[in-house]
Symmetry: C2
Subunit: 314 residues, 2 copies
Amino acid sequence: MNLLLAINGWDRVIWQERFQKLLPERQVLLAGPEIDPAGIHYAACWKHTPGSLAALGQAKALFSLGAGVDHLMLDPDLPDAPIVRIVDPDLTGRMTEWVVWQCLDWLRQGPLYRRQQAARTWHDDRHQPAAQDVRVGVMGLGVLGLDAIERLRSLRFAVSGWSRSAKQIPGVRTYAGEAGLAAFLAQTDILVVLMPLTPETAGMINETLLRQLARDGRLGGPVLLNAGRGGLQVEADILAALEDGTLKGASLDVFQTEPLPSQSPLWLHPSVMVTPHNAAMSHPDAIAKAIVEQIRNLESGQSLMHVVNRSRGY
Amino acid sequence: MNLLLAINGWDRVIWQERFQKLLPERQVLLAGPEIDPAGIHYAACWKHTPGSLAALGQAKALFSLGAGVDHLMLDPDLPDAPIVRIVDPDLTGRMTEWVVWQCLDWLRQGPLYRRQQAARTWHDDRHQPAAQDVRVGVMGLGVLGLDAIERLRSLRFAVSGWSRSAKQIPGVRTYAGEAGLAAFLAQTDILVVLMPLTPETAGMINETLLRQLARDGRLGGPVLLNAGRGGLQVEADILAALEDGTLKGASLDVFQTEPLPSQSPLWLHPSVMVTPHNAAMSHPDAIAKAIVEQIRNLESGQSLMHVVNRSRGY
């Protein structure tokens, strides 16, 4: 009943300490070639080395340590165990903070007023729209999308949602699937991308999609926010859309290559806000606690929560 | 039953057009030396010339066109008519947008990440606090303070409030008066000032007050937000507090002198966000409609709403 930590790109020791503290009676092992798979019933993963989990024939669950499971899905050699996504109120709240922060920064013309401040210019805009005049469209209606919608509505933004399959949200207009996409985009001033990365959604934020955003909004052009996955977006298309006015601005927390290469024109583009994939950092304390709770529940006969549909990819 | 508009610093003609459209049967006059006070029963004011309303002996109400009535209270020669403050959901919502925007920008380290972006630096902060780790203290629990508190809570900030006289807000810790001020400040990481300007509150945001803010918070020092009135703050004390670390940062929409003089060190201070007194702009359409509604209600025998207590000053 031991736990394997298969982590790349993060500090593994921090995670090992957290889990060991919560599972004092078990071994919490770091993945490596010398690990004996016998007795390992669980793996907690973040960008694990593909193939490195193949020998875990006794695995009862594979847990993701961060939002999204695309890092697991990329591996064709996974053991046949349930894949469990992380749903953590702390992580959800942080993602919503980032989304609302950036929606407000575009609504209230943060880039303009910061430039004016640097020039010591006192000038206000008598045509400043209010939140209720600006339509935010959220793509992806999972736990993250729903929480962002609730808080954006509290701030009086005009919010709608789009998801692959139809979803009802009381008081919110929703659109679904290929058939609903054009109508959704045509009434969206700020597009908030919180979709999972799957073969279907990869590269979906491209020129064709951006050209369908609303042209009649109060911000002087549509704005893109992506806090989902860099693989959802085509950065060359985003840059072209910013150049020709298809987009007014973009706030990006995720990129096709991370860290964002220093030669990327996104870094110094005056209409782009770049954050270093930290919109919703996994907090080891909260995540480890949630995973250990799932392990204990499973062993006491309950079902795992938040199990991924492998064929759907999320 | 005519209406006088006594406005300085704003475009009077826009206001005259709006009111005339809503009151087609009456004269809507612009204040000036040649105006005959006979038949003028109402005045709508923004920074009127002191003394210029003295002759309005028939006045039934003096309306403020923007948030706050300190501009009226400064005039010792007002006619003896009720002073009516503006309470407008549009204006309230805009103020809350500004407050939440700036709270999130400090929470999410906007200044740091914008500097990093300008240097093409990909670096995240593993100690990023969540909203619930940060304590926002709102000074002033009128309509604006209460709305800001509700939306800040929706985003999970830890919110408390202070007002001159005791107020109960379900689920929110409140403090009152001189006796409660020190305890309120000692547990405040982000101080949001939404108080009226009165002889008692003038200059209240000074060195003595700033030194009492929490030193044990998660932001690395307390932050000041003032969207109330410039006269509430002592800018020399704010600058000194930023220099010696008493304050980590400040977002200021209002100033002792407006427009903010170009020689003010606030303009280019790296820890100060300056906006040009536009946190909550009075929108002529919404404000004129609310005032005309009050006039019609009064004339049909109802009471005026939002009448100011002259001795209290708000």
